[in-house]
Symmetry: C2
Amino acid sequence: MTPSPGRKKRSTILDVATVAGISRGTVSRVLNGEPYVSDEARVAVNKAIKEVGYVPNMAARNLVRQRSQAVGLLIHEPHALFLEDPNIGSIMLGANTVLSQAGYQMVCLIIDSELDVNRIGQYLNGGSIDGAIVISAGENDPITELIEQLAMASAFVGLPPNHRPLPFVSIDNKKAAAEITARLKASGRTQIGMIASALGRAAGADRLAGFEDALGSSYRPELVAMVEHFSFDAGIAGMRELLERCPTIDAVFAASDAVAAGALSVLQRIGRRVPEDIAVVGFDDSVWAQRTNPPLSTVRQPASELGAQAAELVLAQLRGEEINRGGVYLETSIVWRDSA
Amino acid sequence: MTPSPGRKKRSTILDVATVAGISRGTVSRVLNGEPYVSDEARVAVNKAIKEVGYVPNMAARNLVRQRSQAVGLLIHEPHALFLEDPNIGSIMLGANTVLSQAGYQMVCLIIDSELDVNRIGQYLNGGSIDGAIVISAGENDPITELIEQLAMASAFVGLPPNHRPLPFVSIDNKKAAAEITARLKASGRTQIGMIASALGRAAGADRLAGFEDALGSSYRPELVAMVEHFSFDAGIAGMRELLERCPTIDAVFAASDAVAAGALSVLQRIGRRVPEDIAVVGFDDSVWAQRTNPPLSTVRQPASELGAQAAELVLAQLRGEEINRGGVYLETSIVWRDSA
DNA sequence: CGCAAACCTGTGAACGTTCACAGAGGCGTG
DNA sequence: CACGCCTCTGTGAACGTTCACAGGTTTGCG
């Protein structure tokens, strides 16, 4: 039985060398663009490479170099969230652009089940990637633990779980939440509620904290509905809960745009006018925000920039630079549309 | 200068062997769960592995095994599309589940610029992955060409570009489009238009072909607006164009849900009632479809199943099985909601 | 012209695995 | 008892690169 049916036997650097009539070493030098190789040899090698259809074997190269020129993007999200969160796509593209320009391959790894966790562990430490960007890891994440243990080059998008002292890029969720809440208050609303999500994550908890901060003494716990995820469906559930508890509510800060969209759909169904009867604001400024009716007022976060900076952070570590232990915070801004 | 600052030196299989007091070979056998190893040796090895914190080096293993136990998921989408298309996420998850269960690591590679193309080429043929799943490759895609040349295990989601005879999983876009168009016709609409997208891709072209087929002699070319992408914005542009050309239009088949959502937003803005004045249907049954107001009637396609079957197809090839050259078609169904 | 410096090339040794092979014991059976 | 067959183990040779080193040729300059 042939081992890999249909797949041609690959030619090696030695094949190229013999065809070009020179040695391995010189071929390798040409391949890596090193100096000290004659023009004559260079053209011969390039010709031979085409002739035999040579492509370097990464495994061999990685083995001897002890690095892979690849950076992993670890996505550790529950199913539903991964599909709904439009930020993830932007983060991916931002990171990919930076890594690509630096000559690194970005490989994204989805962690979906416990089965995956072990394999990813192997992948991380097995030399297949030189560094990792981690998106939205939950508390007590085994992968996070592993990364810390291995002291591998890494960057988190959002705060690292359990306050581990690992490099990260984030926005100031608390500050941003406080700002948009203050703005709601300033617009004259008096019964301001919040649909708080994902309190198990820093992003979720901080948005609630900012909300509390901004309201200060006028904060009323019964006006906060806690839901599991940053999802549309969670928004529906949260809004229903708030309406039941306080029918006269006149403003809602939803922990994400998707949540806000869900809330909006409930309000529309029962005939409350937005923003006349009740104001709704979201968080993220994702594509959703511009497509609800009315379009959402929300907090804009620079998603692709988050990915890009995370990539830079990893690259800096790979270059051996000392990086800022305190993490990087990017600016947010408020986008005021028609929903409040 | 230390080569990889901060990163610990990894222990090898030899370290494990010496600590356990036995040879490389036996350690390797334990690692790979082979028979013919004494219980005594097994426990000694496992103990030693924990003690020295051993993790196998993938590069070395891949090199000697000539395979990587990883399958690539190539995403070759223009920026915007990638962010909007919710099917991609489902496809990824479907594929990941299957690959994961088979002990394969899924690595997704985003092809975003020409810069990426070369690097991906290396990745494909460099032994980093054993097979590839390709999502929505465009015509004359260099990656597709490469895959065919290398005769590597592969599966396309959607038809392979340029009618290459490569394995694929798809839905029958033409048939599905014809079905939903026929349904519109049967509901008594007389001026049925279409916003056709991405005609450069089989999916786009086939949906238009199905539309034409269903209308037969009543097909009127002036009622078709052609737009570039399957996007919300394209839907806006397409709907405006149709309204201008034929103000009395009373039904629209949009080439995707996102396009339909865009069209809907235009209609709402100018005060046309949906579905009373004009019916709108989409394609995909993505999350968007349930969140427009009114919710969209659309064609449901089994996105995660597409990913799963593509993964199966790749795995079958890796096992050396002969696969069906004709490709696999999955069933679609019509979901009738309130927009038509 | 002589010597050093720059340029170019080939070679052997690594990188960390797996795999095939050989060989050592133990056990059952003719 | 002898032979063969299992069970278990160790060893050397790959896998395809890169890298350091050594050697050879050319160039530049005093």
